[in-house]
Symmetry: C2
Subunit: 221 residues, 2 copies
DNA sequence: AATGTGACTGACACCATGTCAGAAACAACG
DNA sequence: CGTTGTTTCTGACATGGTGTCAGTCACATT
């Protein structure tokens, strides 16, 4: 064998053959490749072959870590959930002044979605195509809905929010958020985050607390 | 030819072989079969073969009338649009008292979606999978968004609605409607239409006009 | 009856998927 | 170091839905 002629020992640029991963390493490598792909393209163009090309592994190796493309998306969904849940805590947990906390929570959601918007979009688009993923997505959203509903009910009992069917409104508002986020940050170029924040805040506060404060006295005939 | 023996002339039950359609007849037959299928199942299970089984034609015949399953969905979208547009006219066109008209328009939308919810659901789920369908769907929604935006702007100038970015709010509210309708009437069993109506009305009126009228004085601490 | 036109179909090539038997790397043990 | 066991990995294959095409079939016109 030749020593230092054409290729250096282990740092060959793309052909890093002859090296095994631990199970976790490989998973991460695949997930990263998929994420990278989704930054540039859509779920509809995602294919097992494409994903594995961005990898040191071959196509069949994919099936040792995921049963499916949908299964891979479920993993991404899990990752997103852990990030998101604590972001929205201010209003959800009832910390500080309700309306200010609401704004703060929405701000957090918008901000993290600027980063993970592509993934959220992929999840939303892929969910209807697979039974299991669909269920995971529904569960994810239900946890969200329940949290919001609980907060609404609590503030209804404090007289801060008028009475109405908290469950349905919670569901409606959350689904609206998903739509806005996907539309705004699901693909390049992104919309202006502060515009999205304003829109969300307007609808949420208008629906829950009444007319948004800053518009109350403006031009109200 | 036998006169009145076993089968009456043209109404043979299922095996209507040896009979050609006009172009329009065949199209309708295919569209009907697809619609029937979507009543019972999802877009993810829809396949060209399945559709054509509900038909007197063979699978390849499909491609004489549609380039694609997505193309077929586009036809269904067109059908839905013509039905829906005049339904929402009361508020859109500014007829009568704004808030009552809003309620009336929403009522109409909900009502027609009770019938065509399955199709709307199929459209929404299929749209991200095909470039052309995606564009058609976006155009459809944009026409809707523009109409709502125009109405908001008109009523802002009349002092009925406070000033805010009408375009973004219109888009948000419309996307919310789609979500609610698909969730409520996209598959069996359907939700209660009046619940859906209340939810939509609550969010719309809260966002546009301020706190919903009937909750204004109730239990507002 | 002969011919032209458009509706229709059987058979095929294509492509992504998911599987499987076995190869290749690595570790443990002698 | 061999040998053996274990885990990771891959080449090659079977499957199923898609879209195409050359050719057939029903019907109208003459």
């Amino acid at each position: 064998m030749s020593e230092t002629t054409s290729k250096s020992s282990a740092s060959s640029p793309a052909r890093a053959r002859s090296h095994r991963h631990s199970a976790e390493e490989a998973r991460r490598e695949i997930l990263d490749s998929a994420t990278r792909f989704l930054q540039e393209s859509d779920f509809r163009n995602l294919t097992v072959g494409e994903v594995m090309e961005g990898t040191t592994l071959s196509r069949p190796a994919f099936y040792q870590y995921f049963t499916d493309l949908h299964d891979l998306i479920i993993s991404l969904l899990r990752d997103v959930e852990t990030v998101m849940h604590q972001i929205a805590s201010p209003w959800i947990e009832g910390e500080g002044k309700p309306i200010a906390a609401l704004r703060e929570s929405i701000r957090g959601v918008v901000e993290t979605c600027v980063q993970h918007g592509h993934i959220v979009r992929a999840i939303v688009e892929a969910a209807p195509l697979d039974e299991r993923l669909e269920q995971e997505w529904q569960s994810f959203m239900r946890r969200w809905d329940d949290a919001v509903e609980a907060r609404i009910v609590a503030q209804q009992q404090d007289g801060l929010i008028p009475f109405f069917n908290a469950q349905r409104i919670a569901k409606a508002l959350n689904s609206l958020d998903v739509n806005l986020v996907v539309a705004a940050f699901g693909r390049h170029p992104h919309d202006d985050p502060s515009d999205v924040l304003e829109t969300m805040y307007h609808v949420w506060s208008g629906t829950l607390y009444g007319r948004p404060p800053h518009a109350l006295t403006a031009k109200n005939r």
